[in-house]
Symmetry: D3
């Protein structure tokens, strides 16, 4: 039950769909697929601004052990984005400039890791985009087998080989391979609607009206009161002795 | 006891006082009012450097629900700064570019939120200053009533509508409306004293002397010893085997 | 047993060795001394990029009390780097622009503190490099004696007066004074090896081969499987109903 | 603006109301006053089960300094519950057996502190109920003035002298003095309704029906599907290769 | 893409297998399936000791909204264990005595929730076993649709309806339905081996020998040195001035 | 510089002194040695009440790797207490019932570990006292060399082989071997003074007087005011509109 595996020949999402999603923001895509797929907010970019989309090259590692990252490089295909998850929480620096150079040589476009990275000055200089849970110079060993290109849970989301992973300054979202074309269509529509809203709001329109919130909230008990008229302040700040 | 309310017509601090405080730093103002009013350090600016002062437009929201932010926009007056607190801890992205554009259209100068925000690349581009407890693309619903322009506790501090909120790279401080003119005077005096100190210290003077610490600490048991003379090291590091 | 002390005349690491280490990165030096000496990753630079090396001027302070920092300034020698540790966890702003100006006037090259700092905009402007566990405008008192130039534990590492402290965007590492010359030699060798590796990897070589990982991991049970051939997925994601 | 004060002669909530609230649970009272007043969940009881209600004797302390707790004892009246908040986050052990014995001698019924305590074995033996944010043997100094019997923010809630503080295994809730009689009535009603619900639910009734959720959620898009019929699983787990 | 669903008629693991796993510990079962399936250690039991195994009844909820728990009750079958995960981090008290009574009436054996619960004194009295990420009296609303009996990620692990969930004082582990019979066999074998080891170790045997670690670690550079003979201590503590 | 070592023949503190310290509490001993030596409050006992003192048997381990614990057992002498620190933060379960049985067979009296443990029900049953930073069933590998019986930093404190480690419900304190006899004397004196204080305080005496705090705090600006007389409340809660 605990064989460690490297799965080869896994399918990947159509590059045109990946490219299309890469032109949109994480928040937009997350909304377009029904507010799903967002990784935990502990994943932060090493430098900002940054934005990238790629097909997931998944990798599961032991705590403090980056042996499997070296295995993953060989499985990389151009357009892949490496997704690394440790089997238990770890902030060590699994990844640095050497691995970034190696991944780039094999066409990998970025890294998402629910653990630590190092050489952040170098990663920033070479503009290799990385989202990580920590920055730490702590080195790792290369002793333990893990898994490459199997479904993994990374920062709270299931990621399968070939899924689209999109990351920007707001965080990281996963789009399942089978859903990606439809999500792209929905996300583009959403972006267009947002652009129209933006113009109206910039001109002073109230979203309270356009969203129909005035009635809804009144129906849920929201009242308006003139200042000074309130008899009792529930935080007590207006109470007189 | 749990009516949700929007209080209208709340008074605001004199704009000249707000402007004056906005020229000073958070640390200076916090000191000038007796080391009070500082929000928790988990609030961090979305981009740096940033500095802004405004009159508090307060808003209390349910976790994962930003309906009341849309209500708050209507209550905004030029020079306001939106202060948002969730009723329980939440890192979701309550606020993004659309709301920023809308607030700016109504003269609001910034946002302080003890929760998450998103569209951080956009907020940075448009230079809308935001201090938040988290960055997360996670969307919110619009279902639950809350409160606008009532006294709230945000990141550990009581904020009342119309109070001054001052934020910079160091964090966020609240100055009560009634205290603001006096705090401004005290803060300006402090800043002048600091400028004078700065010159003396840059010239090599010791604050140990100017602060009278030499005698005070001697009185509290501080001794000077030559290296190598110490018989026993309480961390044990000097102990011989 | 609890005398508070300032130890004078402590020895310092040879400036040439410090300078040499300062040209290398934290990750490299940490590896070169056997993956030891790294402070906890909660210490982050106030601005990036930043890199500095200095001889430790150690200082132990009470929570919320920075009296001993003023004592430390007098003990500073050019090339020192101030290392501050509180006796219990504290995020208050112990340090700001005034102390930075004062330290710089005495030749101190930077600060590492397992607590908070403030005036971060000022520190950034004057390019005084600081690594801290927090940013907070919260002021401190000056009431309690502590220790200067005694061995301290800072962010999980023992630091003794005169040890080398090296800090960059990845974190902070301590090199014991007696070890520093040998660590410098080892770190330079490592850097050279890394430069050679970098070239090979940029050309597409696989570290899997150069590190001999292929056989090692096979011996620890790693197998390769063609996609679609796997009968059972341990995350269950491939299981059919 | 930063005078430190002890306010004497502050009013307290009617003891009968306090006693009444003390017979109810924190969750019930929190609900009865509109889901307000709950302190942050980081406050945990030193031993369980525990339940107590008292009138707030408020105390604001410096980090690592418990001088003001000794001041607070003198202000205690029978039925008070000591509420302590530090001016910045601190986990030190402000309070132990000696102060517990002293408080009990003056009729104080418990302690709520957004910081640390020690002597927890002793506190448990003598059954003095304490809710704290930490347990730590770390001692504190007695150097800095603070405030007693002024309004404070403790663990995110405004507490004013004489308010009711109710604590049990679930946490701590504050009831404003002026609201307390009405909250007691509402809470008792709520408890009765809950007792009735409990019986129905124990008999197998579905809250889905009694709460009218079936229609509400259908209206918000909830659908029922037979297993095996779903064409696409958004977590991807049902997707075929 | 964001339809919210209740899936009916999902298969469950064979009750005999569930019962068998329930007689073993979480650590044993986790090891027996190759150190996989363990939920994050933030999930802690409300009372100890506690141990339970059941078939997963999965439920995905919005932050601060427990509407879907009421929906889940109707889907419960005897032997189920409710597994609840919020769509973003939330510590609110989603669950209390009423829902526990209701679940028990439908044969549910326990709850695992990556969020908060309340009425912990009541849950303890009625011995309804609960593992949660927080205890909080904070109430929730009932406004938003979610999912029941779909695959979810809970505390870092994929859980599918009908999988076995086993929880004890050490935490919570998931066993995929298809794997469960084989895991049970392996876990029983492991337990037997451990019992034999226990006897040998109790008699003073060294695991260093039985595990063959002596040679392995020597091969990886471990040396034995007599105290006092070491010339240099890498923590520096043995260094002479 | 990174040789991994087991140091044999290290000296230990006199057993009578250890026994003496074991009769006192952690808080008392920590105070008696000048508020030093206390480990971080994240270390908590697996069961309460618990109290133990022993001579430190130190062990430094890699993250997720417990090989060195097996090495440590062989170095154990009756009266030792095992102190384990990982080289980087890790919450895995390094230690369970098997190792506890083995340690007990060699006379070891307890465990302090700045990482995770498992089999907590078993450890509780057999009353083997453990203080840990986490509880987790996550297994570890046995691949990497570390150090035994060298000076280590554990939870923020330097511990050297043979030092006294004392742990109770409040936490863990280290007493250096050379200091131990004097600390024992001081701690016993302190305990006696506390017993006397306890009696006075139980009779209603005010520590405010016995500690001379009344004058000290008055000198630092503390004033007493009658309720209702205060013109301005710095938290603003008393301000009138």
């Amino acid at each position: 039950m605990s064989r460690h595996r490297v799965v080869t020949g896994t399918p990947r999402t159509d590059p045109d769909v990946v490219r299309g999603l890469g032109e949109l923001g994480v928040a937009t895509v997350h909304e377009a697929q029904g507010r799903t797929g967002l990784m935990h907010a502990r994943l932060r970019p090493v430098y900002r601004p940054a934005r990238v989309a790629g097909t997931a090259l998944t990798c599961e590692v032991a705590p403090g052990d980056n042996a499997m990252l070296h295995v993953a490089v060989e499985q990389a295909r151009p357009g892949d984005l490496l997704v690394v998850t440790p089997t238990s929480p770890c902030t060590d620096g699994y990844f640095g400039e050497l691995l970034a150079v190696s991944l780039r040589a094999h066409g990998v476009v970025g890294l998402v890791i629910d653990a630590g990275v190092r050489d952040t000055a170098g990663l920033t200089s070479m503009r290799f985009p990385v989202w990580s849970a920590a920055v730490s110079a702590q080195g790792t060993v290369k002793e333990t087998a893990g898994n490459v290109q199997v479904p993994v849970v990374c920062a709270g989301q299931l990621v399968r080989p070939g899924d689209v992973v999109l990351a920007d300054d707001d965080g990281v979202v996963v789009v399942a391979r089978a859903d990606a074309p439809a999500v792209l269509v929905a996300a583009r529509q959403r972006e267009e609607r947002e652009r129209a809203s933006l113009e109206r709001l910039a001109a002073g329109a109230l979203s309270l009206d356009s969203l129909g919130l005035r009635e809804k909230l009144a129906g849920r008990g929201l009242v308006y009161e003139e200042y000074g008229a309130e008899p009792l302040d529930r935080t007590g700040a207006g109470e007189t002795a």
